[in-house]
């Protein structure tokens, strides 16, 4: 087995035992990237090999093999980094190099993890296929004609293809879990406030949450140990103690109460996906868990509420891209107002413009109560649904997505159909809960994702339940054939 195929945990073990060096890992990673990147195209900016190798040698020379030292990773290009441009896959920020680093990445840097570059995404995280990148498409490693999902599509594809052992992505309405499901990897959206948002370019501030994409649940626990925790720079970051997430691995799940909401198994979910998740539920019963049907009646209102709240916040968050201080500026404008308008017209894609218009319209004073405020009330009801179910259950299990990865170009001109991809992931963001997607089956060679939803700050139980499933199945071990001659 080659080094690029290993998990973070496996790499850590080998480094600790002095079997391998960081330099060797990095070399293997570059070899893999050279092999498949032309096909997958998950990176927007890739670090210079010479620099990274030098960095790896320095870390090797330190001779302290703790934590993530010497382990390569990459970031969705929404995390601000001072050594790589941060584009959000937009022409607006094509050449933008921040002077600061996102808090979540600072922690990884302090561990001496090696940042290899920035990964493709839908522009400003708006999209479910990574087709909305201003730079290029990213392909699903399992089927190059298919999308990797989005908006963290680059992150999921890179991990699935073995280009990187782990990556960080963000999830506003499913942007981390849906691509993880499409690419057959693990994606965890932590509780809102668990991982600092500082330095993560905002799409919808009350919903955005950063999290890891990894090859298995054990790695998710390892990465969460490093990135979770209170940050005084983020007012919504919560000062709740961070447990050692690896203690939830290899635990018995006898008596664990699992609820599966009937609303998440409706006709919009394909039979193959339903079957895979139902089989997984059977597996849980075999493992001693108590599995029962539950109801989340406000589910059908979650998606419309989301598509009012997220664009409203986005319309304000993206207003700072006005060409005045950074990013793209139209230099032909005759006055300042035209400069604003023309810069924004030229540098945002249609999906971003569509959502800015949605959001602007729903916040207009004569629409506010009918749209934005009503959506906030729905949000409360959706949250109450979960609170009620979590009185009796430890975990909620559902499909992550209604279908497996769809074909490139198939849905791009049907925004509403595209929005439906998020139908089972969005309620989790509205409620601020942790949600994790893990592989649970295949259909026509395409991975299927199962979503585990937990109580606030109870990522531990998701890791426990996820790992128990992983230990008794092999889905997470399957690898796409990409790059194999």
């Amino acid at each position: 087995m080659e080094l690029f195929e290993l998990t973070v945990y496996e790499l850590q073990e080998k480094i600790k035992k002095r079997e391998i060096s960081s330099e060797e890992i990095v070399k293997s990673i570059y070899k893999r990237i050279n092999e498949v990147e032309n096909t997958i195209k998950s990176f927007i900016t890739l670090a210079d090999e010479k620099n990274i190798l030098e960095n790896a040698k320095k870390i090797d020379a330190k001779n302290e093999y703790n934590g993530l030292a010497g382990i390569p990773y990459a970031l969705k290009d929404i995390f601000c980094t001072s050594d790589f441009r941060t584009t959000c896959s937009s022409k607006m920020l094509e050449n933008f190099v921040p002077t600061y680093n996102a808090s979540a990445t600072v922690k990884l840097r302090e561990q001496d993890a090696i940042l290899m570059g920035k990964l493709n995404m839908d522009e400003f995280a708006m999209g479910s296929s990574t087709e909305r990148s201003a730079f290029h498409l990213t392909c699903n490693p399992w089927d190059l004609e298919r999308v990797p999902g989005g908006s963290s599509g680059g992150s999921a594809a890179a991990v699935a293809a073995g280009e990187i052992p782990f990556a960080l992505g963000t999830d506003t309405g499913g942007s981390l879990r849906q691509p993880a499901a499409f690419c057959g990897v693990v994606g965890l959206k932590p509780t809102y406030g668990r991982v600092s948002r500082w330095g993560v370019i905002a799409f919808a501030s009350s919903l955005d949450q950063a999290g890891p994409i990894t090859k298995d649940v054990r790695d998710t626990a390892i990465i969460m140990n490093e990135i979770a925790g209170y940050d005084s720079l983020d007012s919504n970051s919560l000062d709740v103690e961070v447990p050692d997430y690896t203690q939830f691995l290899n635990q018995d799940i006898k008596g664990l109460k699992i609820g599966y909401p009937k609303e998440y198994f409706q006709e919009y979910v394909t039979q193959e996906v339903k079957d895979a998740v139902i089989n997984a539920l059977k597996k849980y019963e075999e493992l001693g868990a108590v599995v029962e049907e539950v109801s989340l009646p406000y589910t059908e209102y979650a998606l419309p509420a989301y598509y009012l709240i997220a664009p409203a916040e986005a319309s304000a968050n993206l207003a700072r891209f006005d060409g005045v201080r950074f990013g793209y500026r139209d230099t032909n404008a005759e006055n300042v107002l035209d400069m604003f308008k023309q810069s924004r017209s030229a540098a945002f894609n249609n999906e971003v413009k569509r959502r800015i218009l949605f959001g602007t319209n729903s916040l207009r004073s004569n629409n506010y109560e009918d749209y934005y405020l009503k959506a906030q009330k729905v949000r409360r009801l959706v949250r109450d649904d979960f609170t009620r179910v979590f009185k009796d259950y430890d975990v909620i299990v559902a499909p992550t997505t209604p279908t497996t990865a769809f074909k490139i170009g198939e849905q791009i001109n049907h925004p509403i159909i595209l929005y439906l991809n998020d139908i089972i992931t969005v309620p989790v963001n509205l409620a601020g809960l942790p949600g994790m997607s893990i592989p649970c089956g295949f259909s026509d060679g395409l991975p299927i994702g199962m979503q585990l939803i937990g109580k606030p700050f109870d990522e531990g139980t998701l890791i426990k339940a996820g790992h128990a499933f992983e230990q008794s199945t092999d889905y997470h071990k399957a690898k796409p054939a990409v790059g194999v001659k």
Binding site: W198, S235, N236, E313, R320
Partner: protein
């Protein structure tokens, strides 16, 4: 027909914090452009605001000083609009849940007290500043200075309960003195830490509904506020009398021409699309926090005024002037530690001191005079070392140079001559030199006496003790 002017004021006060309201940048005034800026207050992508607790504390302190209800729950909202000096393209402000609710302040109008209601006071961040190359209309490029961006402001909105430019000025002066005493702001209008907009309308007396309202922006002095309102009220009355229709608009005050000018009409008014800022959790204050601030409030102008009247028997008028700023009151209180006659101190402060401050256009803290010197000077008058007239010269010199009165007297040779023998010699000389006036005096012309006094003063270069001169002269003239 007789008309009534209706005025409400919106006052922006910069809170006295060391750092900005949502980041750690300094709020010092007058720094080089863009030297007090970080990615957060420059609105860079990925940055999020973190609330400065001190700003909340000062807002509560201000609210309590203005008799406001303090909200246990308040929140921040985004006020959206595009402008090059607004880095995030929205201002973080408070919309429907301000930190301070209803309150009031009392003003004195020719001896009568009038209560002016405060509608609310809310926290917000300031915007940056544009520096136009040339004038705003002709400039081809403008520069952005973000030093002020995210400086904490408290916007204090009054009820429309003022009825003249003078009332508005008195309200603003009283508001300023309260905020100064509370220690929440420097309230320097010239540095923009106190800014005022006025909403003005007129209506026939007795009419319940308001007339068409005009907002006058950025009034940067008490005088400008008063003048602009008087001008605007007259303009409205003239328009109504001439049958012209007034439009709701925003105007500015042209201090040079002493007129208001139109800035924009209501049709251009923006919809700010307020909504709760998702980056900032609501502010929840408990009673203990509020009570703690309440119990530690310093003495405020109204209390201080009452104290001066009761303790020193000063007229209300004096007491109100002595409590305009904490500096003035402290000066007075310091004097009273060493001196018993409050009215004398008050007279010097309201008279000479105020005259010199106005003449030099400075605040008391910027002058060099101190209470100890004033007391020394008053004691020198009492001892007869200097006359009251000489004291004015001494006072001005103390004000300008900060020297003690003895040094000034010595330097200027201002010692009063009270020695009877010396004075008698001069008196005899003056009488001898003016035999004609002596005749007049003997013929009963009172004026002649004054002439002799004047001549003695002249001969002694003003240093003769006038009381002794009077006494000796009378003896001399009547004795012969």
């Amino acid at each position: 027909m007789a008309y009534e002017t209706v005025i409400g004021l919106e006052v922006h006060v910069e809170l006295k914090t060391k750092t900005k309201i949502f980041c750690g940048c300094s709020t010092d005034f007058g720094a080089e452009p863009n030297t007090q800026v970080c990615p957060s207050c420059a609105g860079f992508p990925g940055t999020v605001p973190v609330l400065n607790k001190k700003a909340v504390e000062l807002a509560v302190k201000a609210g309590l000083s203005l008799n406001c209800e303090i909200a246990n729950y308040s929140k921040f909202d985004r006020k959206n609009y595009f402008y090059p000096d607004l880095p995030k393209a929205y201002q973080i402000s408070q919309y429907d849940y301000p930190i301070c609710g209803k309150g009031y302040i009392d003003i004195d109008i020719s001896g009568e007290s009038k209560r002016i209601g405060i509608t609310r006071a809310h926290l917000e961040e300031d915007a940056g500043k544009l520096v136009h190359q040339g004038s705003i209309t002709t400039t081809t490029s403008s520069l952005v200075d973000l030093n002020r961006s995210s400086v904490p402001l408290l916007e204090i909105v009054s009820e429309p309960e003022m009825r003249s430019g003078i009332e508005a000025r008195l309200y603003l002066e009283k508001l300023r003195s309260i905020l100064l005493f509370a220690g929440v702001s420097d309230c320097k209008m010239q540095e923009g830490s106190l800014r005022c907009d006025a909403n003005v309308s007129v209506r026939p007396y007795g009419q319940a509904e308001f007339g068409t309202r005009v907002e006058i922006k950025n009034l940067n002095s008490f005088k400008a506020l008063e003048k602009a309102i008087e001008f605007e009220a007259k303009r409205h009355v003239d328009a109504i009398e001439d049958g012209e229709e007034l439009i709701q608009e925003t105007r500015t005050w042209d201090d040079e021409k002493q007129v208001t000018k139109s800035m924009r009409t209501k049709e251009d008014a923006e919809d700010y699309r307020y909504f709760p800022d998702p980056d900032l959790p609501p502010i929840k204050l408990n009673e203990a926090f509020i009570n703690d601030i309440k119990e530690n409030l310093p003495e405020l102008p109204d209390e201080a005024q009452k104290r001066l009247v009761e303790k020193y028997n000063l007229p209300n008028y004096d007491a109100s002037l002595l409590t305009m700023t904490p500096d003035v009151l402290t000066f007075f209180d310091e004097c009273m530690k060493e001196y018993e006659d409050a009215k004398v101190v008050s007279n010097w402060m309201m008279g000479e001191l105020t005259r010199l401050l106005n003449q030099n256009n400075i605040e008391l803290s910027e002058s060099k005079i101190n209470p100890e010197h004033l007391i020394n000077m008053l004691q020198l008058i009492n001892k007869g070392t200097i006359s009251g007239k000489m004291a004015k010269t001494v006072f001005e010199e103390m004000f300008n140079s900060g020297k003690d009165p003895e040094a000034i007297i010595k330097e200027k040779g201002l010692v009063q001559i009270s020695d009877e023998e010396t004075l008698l010699a001069t008196i005899e000389e003056v009488i001898n030199n003016n035999p004609k006036v002596l005749e007049d005096y003997k013929a009963g012309k009172e004026k002649a006496f004054g002439f002799f006094v004047g001549q003695v003063m002249k001969a002694t270069k003003g240093q003769a003790n006038p009381a002794i001169v009077n006494k000796l002269l009378k003896e001399k003239l009547n004795g012969e």
